[in-house]
């Protein structure tokens, strides 16, 4: 089978796999950002209990590997009566893992906001919630966006692991194609190229755009 025939025969599976990968990526991003925000804020809380629970979460998810977390969520959680389908287990594991790394970025971003901003918000009688939402978070966001760009690439790469619990993403389809055709270079080569295009020409430019957009909005461009 030459390369052209190969592509002609298998492109629908590659496309559907890419679709699943993109869906996993988007859902994991939403979950990851939400977790990162709440854990990052909790780590800065004045209550010791809240802080301790955030630190526990972050250390557990950063201290073990994503694959271990994925297997645990998929194979062990059902034993506790929480059964989730593999698609959900996939993006939940990836999102929870990335959320722990993101929490540190959120915390760093918030701490990097100049002290005068906190004092100014206090001086104009804002409540802590208002201060966080309207003064601190927007500025923290601009500061922490560059490292988030790297984290998003890690997230995209992380989604490849969901293939190991049989979610039919790009990695999974590629493995299937490989085992039915034995054309490994072609199958894995195409998948490598697609992941690269997604990372380099979709995720990275989007994050750059977001950085520029936020910087302009904050009058820093």
């Amino acid at each position: 089978m030459n390369f052209f025939d190969f592509v002609l025969q298998y492109w629908p599976r590659v496309v559907s796999g890419t679709g699943v990968t993109v869906a996993q990526f988007i859902l994991a991003t939403i979950l990851g950002v939400a977790i990162a925000l709440s854990m990052g804020l909790m780590k800065l809380s004045s209550s010791k209990l809240v802080r301790a629970s955030a630190i526990t979460y972050i250390e557990i998810f950063r201290g073990t590997s994503l694959l271990v977390q994925l297997y645990w969520i998929f194979f062990v959680l059902p034993l506790f009566g929480v059964t989730i389908d593999k698609f959900t287990a996939g993006y939940v594991a990836v999102g929870m893992n990335i959320g722990a790394y993101g929490a540190e970025l959120v915390r760093g971003g918030i701490l990097s906001v100049a002290k005068g901003q906190w004092e100014a918000a206090l001086a104009i009688n804002m409540t802590p919630a208002q201060r966080m939402r309207r003064i601190i978070l927007p500025q923290a966001l601009v500061n922490m966006l560059p490292p988030w760009g790297n984290l998003m690439i890690e997230l995209l790469k992380g989604t490849a692991l969901v293939s190991l619990i049989s979610v039919a993403d790009l990695m999974f389809e590629t493995k299937q194609i490989n085992s039915s055709t034995f054309l490994s270079a072609q199958a894995f080569g195409i998948a490598l190229a697609i992941y690269y295009v997604l990372a380099r020409f979709m995720v990275t430019p989007f994050m750059r755009w977001l950085e520029d957009y936020m910087a302009r909005k904050m009058g820093r461009a």
């Binding site: 250390e59 201290g63 271990v68 062990v76 692991l161 990695m171 270079a185 894995f188």
Partner: protein, 222 residues
């Protein structure tokens, strides 16, 4: 309610400890490859040859933005197609070593960039060859500022070794999976693997921070 069986946990502990040894071995060997190869990748991006710089730069970008899992499969399955038959261990080490070499090359690059320009000029003024310049002047000064990043990737490589299970390297996850399917019990093996990972990576991260601080103080930095 947890249905946790202590006797089962005790029974499988020796196997998991053996697997921990394999995991550490894989991480160590992969890291050794990455440390050396990463240095070459970093220096290759500083040669006066534009073509080399461009190719290496793109290669590093490519490897950094594609999943390690896919690279492991690629090396393991494509090797035999072109006549290179590699054992799971060999291909795993190569994949993980190459992947992290690219990350480490960025760390080294930052370290090398942080060496003041006067040092480069002084090395040239002393008529040093390129090799002497890097070996005796630049790299010794670049390493301290690269230490934090290097340490982080050591822990990172350790946490990525479970991916080697997909090509049959008998590390922790592979063993936990095998135990799980032999006994139809996944709670103990997977939970214990998680605890083993925590028990190694948290102290390791602390230790790395300690060593880093000590090295930096010894060299009179901060």
């Amino acid at each position: 309610m947890f249905d946790w069986k202590w006797d089962f946990a005790w029974e499988i502990l020796p196997r998991l400890i053996t697997a921990t040894g394999n995991t550490l071995l894989a991480a160590g060997a992969g890291y050794a490859i990455a440390l050396v190869l990463g240095l070459f990748l970093a220096i290759a991006q500083r040669t006066p040859y534009r073509g080399v710089t461009f190719v290496v730069r793109e290669l590093v970008e490519f490897i950094r933005s594609t999943p390690l899992l896919l690279q492991i499969f690629f090396i393991f399955y494509v090797g035999p197609q072109i006549g290179i038959r590699l054992s799971p261990w060999m291909s795993g080490m190569m994949a993980i070593g190459l992947h992290y070499a690219c990350y480490l090359s960025e760390v080294y690059r930052g370290g090398i960039d942080s060496v003041p320009k006067g040092q480069w000029e002084a090395a040239i003024a002393l008529n040093m060859t390129a090799v002497q310049k890097y070996r005796r002047v630049i790299i010794p000064q670049a390493i301290p500022s690269a230490l934090a990043g290097m340490g982080n990737y050591l822990v990172g490589i350790f946490k990525d070794t479970p991916m080697l299970s997909v090509i049959g390297v008998a590390e922790l996850i592979h063993t936990a999976n095998a135990i799980g399917s032999e006994h139809y019990r996944f709670l103990e093996p997977f939970t214990m693997v998680g605890i083993i990972f925590l028990a190694i990576s948290l102290p390791a991260a602390g230790l790395i921070r300690l060593v880093e601080g000590r090295v930096r103080r010894k060299l009179g930095l901060n």
